[in-house]
């Protein structure tokens, strides 16, 4: 079992997503520290993938910028090891199955364990395929984070029962990206999850404004924001860290208010 649950002990959690190496790894390090200092409870670090099929245009762009800058899985592990000297909050990776598979799953999980990564989110690894990595993940104490979608319906209980770390509740159909409105009935989904597990639930996909984050957090245990942060990084580039820090503070204040 990882340290992920501790992220949900400071009231409702705010979870920022950052693509490693966009625009470069030095900037990523500054952004992670700024997010941690401004109240992020858990950080999702994206390992870029050439063909991120679950992402909308904003995060696709971040993936491609990072890869064209020469970032690799090994360089990202080195970054995490460096960050771990002072960043104490839990961190998880978000990437695609092939990145883990081609690195060799056991070697990948061993390095996660060694560098202090608590979990791995793989949007192209549904419940039916988690045996691909679950044994080695467990061996190294890494949580394979389960996702539940608006279409999960009768699958929710099955997924929730075996969920570790936290449950990523996908707010909307489609890919990642900022949305003006989230129409899924998140409360109902979380209620079904709660009947099967006490694993915390955080809602992601489409959240950008403090009001949305507060609303989603009020229905669950936390809010995840990706594209809105990537947009800030896209806009300010190497100077993005203080702007992301400010944004994280605003969002954490918003989710804290619903405790």
């Amino acid at each position: 079992m990882s340290n992920i649950r501790s992220a949900f002990r400071n009231g409702k959690a705010f979870i920022p997503f950052i693509t490693c190496g966009d625009p470069d790894l030095e900037t990523t390090a500054k952004i992670v520290r700024a997010a941690a200092e401004n109240g992020a409870d858990l950080i999702e670090l994206g390992i870029p993938f050439s063909d991120p099929t679950a992402e909308g245009p904003v995060i696709q762009g971040a993936n491609l910028r990072a890869l064209s800058g020469g970032v690799t899985t090994d360089k990202i592990f080195d970054l995490v090891a460096e960050l771990r000297k002072d960043v104490k909050i839990p961190m998880v990776f978000m990437t695609y199955a092939n990145v883990v598979f081609s690195y060799d799953a056991e070697r990948f999980m061993a390095r996660c364990c060694e560098t202090g990564i608590g979990g791995v989110i793989l949007p192209d690894l549904p419940f039916e395929e988690k045996d691909e990595f679950s044994a080695v993940a467990r061996q190294y104490g890494i949580d394979l984070i389960s996702l539940i979608a608006p279409t999960s319906a009768d699958r929710i209980a099955m997924i929730a029962k075996e969920a570790d770390g936290f449950i990523y509740v996908v707010s909307s159909l489609g890919v990642t990206g900022v949305r003006s409105e989230i129409t899924t009935n998140i409360g109902d989904i979380v209620e079904v999850i709660r009947q099967s597990t006490d694993t915390p639930c955080a809602v992601g996909f489409g959240i950008s404004e403090p009001e949305q984050a507060a609303k989603m957090a009020s229905l669950s245990d936390g809010a995840i924001v990706g594209s809105a942060i990537i947009r800030i990084i896209e806009k300010y580039g190497r100077d993005a860290a203080p702007y992301v820090g400010e944004y994280v503070k605003r969002m954490k204040d918003a989710v804290r208010s619903v405790d």
């Binding site: 993938f49 050439s50 063909d51 099929t53 679950a54 909308g56 245009p57 696709q60 491609l64 890869l67 690799t72 899985t73 090994d74 695609y96 199955a97 092939n98 990145v99 883990v100 598979f101 081609s102 690195y103 949007p123 192209d124 690894l125 549904p126 419940f127 039916e128 395929e129 988690k130 045996d131 691909e132 679950s134 996702l147 539940i148 979608a149 608006p150 279409t151 999960s152 319906a153 009768d154 699958r155 997924i159 996908v170 159909l173 489609g174 890919v175």
Partner: protein, 396 residues
């Protein structure tokens, strides 16, 4: 305990977002029901025979045989199907299935445009809405097919991400499907992607070898010595191989697009240059770098320009039942011209990869041996591009 489905050896599976899982399960259940439903099969057979023009001919290419001076060569003429390629076999099956499932909208990816044209055609016939995703690069290479799809009432969306070719079109179609599932069926064009697609598409394409096996037995009284087909994702190849798989004496040869050569980076020969990975919903062989980043592949043929291969082919390779050989752009273009001149048959540049390998193999075989080449599509769509390849400035 999880339960992975749709495996071919270690390959296959369902590596897709949770959002799509119930849609995939619904599709699998519907397919399991309808594949044995007499009414469904009657309707599909009627469409294939009365609309698409099946069975397709198994043509004895006497002049080609004489020119090459070895094995007797037959051509399985999928180019004579309505819409000009084998793609219609699968599309009619999936469109009919989608209709039975209550779907009103088809989405599809396309490389060369043949699958997009077939999907647009079926959508027109069955009164369904149709959206086709096509790499922007391919919309330029295959401009005529873009026009055909629009003429048939489909919307064509040029995909600008990544390498702007077939793999990006597949990614974009998957993204679209996760955003609109209720009324939409993703009519995947090859034996790839998550289960049950590799099985569904194979079953619908298996009509090719069901016919050709019976046709060759009738014409020659015996099975062929080799069956040759081109392989991108691998739908015409698996269709051409399927009913010969139990016949151990029949060599099954898939021709991959080597582009400028398998010792260059400008290639799409997945089995020859790739390694095992997980992408586009399946475990199989992929062209990729050491960190699992999918490689930008290249072939003159937009239809074979894909960094992966269907999981059943990966398995047939692993167990040694089928061989996968690389064929370069140059070899394919030579074959394109050679078949046109010797038989008066202009093959699709994809199919020309299979013809090219047969041109190497046939002369090494005795005259009493038999080869069947699948001509998966017609080459009209390629004429302008091949002319440009030869330095003639022709534009459509």
């Amino acid at each position: 305990m999880s339960s992975s489905k749709g495996r071919f050896g270690v390959h296959g599976g369902q590596y897709i977002p949770e959002t799509l899982m119930n849609a995939i399960i619904e599709l699998e259940n519907a397919y399991e029901h309808y594949k044995n439903d007499p009414d469904f099969n009657r309707e599909l057979t009627q469409l294939l025979n009365e609309y698409a023009g099946r069975p397709s001919l198994l043509y004895y290419a006497e002049k080609l045989t004489r020119e090459l001076g070895g094995a007797k060569i037959y051509l399985k003429r999928e180019d004579l199907n309505h819409t000009g390629s084998h793609k219609i076999n699968n599309v009619l099956g999936q469109a009919l299935l989608a209709k039975k499932m209550g779907k009103t909208r088809l989405i599809a990816e396309t490389g060369a445009g043949q699958h997009g044209v077939a999907t647009a055609t079926a959508a027109a016939l069955l009164d369904m809405e149709c959206v086709v995703f096509m790499g922007e690069e391919d919309t330029i290479r295959q401009a005529l097919n873009v026009y055909r799809m629009r003429l048939l009432g489909a919307e064509v969306i040029p995909v600008k991400t990544g390498t702007a070719t077939l793999k990006d079109a597949v990614s974009e179609a998957m993204r679209e499907w996760t955003s609109r599932i209720d009324d939409t069926h993703y009519c995947l064009g090859s034996v790839m992607g998550p289960h049950p697609f590799p099985t569904i598409v194979r079953d619908f394409q298996a009509v090719i070898s069901r016919e050709s096996r019976a046709q060759i037995l009738e014409k020659e009284g015996r099975l062929p010595d080799a069956v040759i087909a081109c392989v991108g994702g691998g739908s015409n190849a698996i269709g051409s191989f399927y009913h010969f798989i139990p016949d151990e004496g029949v060599r099954l040869i898939g021709c991959e697009a080597a582009g400028r050569g398998i010792d260059t980076f400008e290639t799409a020969a997945t089995v020859n240059t790739g390694r095992i990975g997980i992408f586009h919903g399946m475990k199989s062989y992929f062209c990729q770098d050491e960190y699992g980043q999918i490689a930008p592949v290249y072939s003159i043929s937009a239809g074979l320009d894909y960094p992966g291969v269907g999981p059943e082919h990966a398995y047939l390779h692993d167990i040694g039942r089928a061989e996968y050989v690389p064929v370069t752009d140059d070899e394919a273009v030579n074959a394109f011209e050679f078949l046109s001149r010797t038989e008066g048959i202009i093959p699709a540049i994809e199919s020309a990869h299979a013809v090219a390998y047969a041109m190497k193999l046939a002369p090494t075989m005795d005259k009493d041996k038999i080869i069947i080449i699948t001509v998966s599509g017609r080459g009209d769509k390629d004429c302008a591009a091949i002319a440009r390849y030869r330095g003639e400035d022709i534009h459509e």
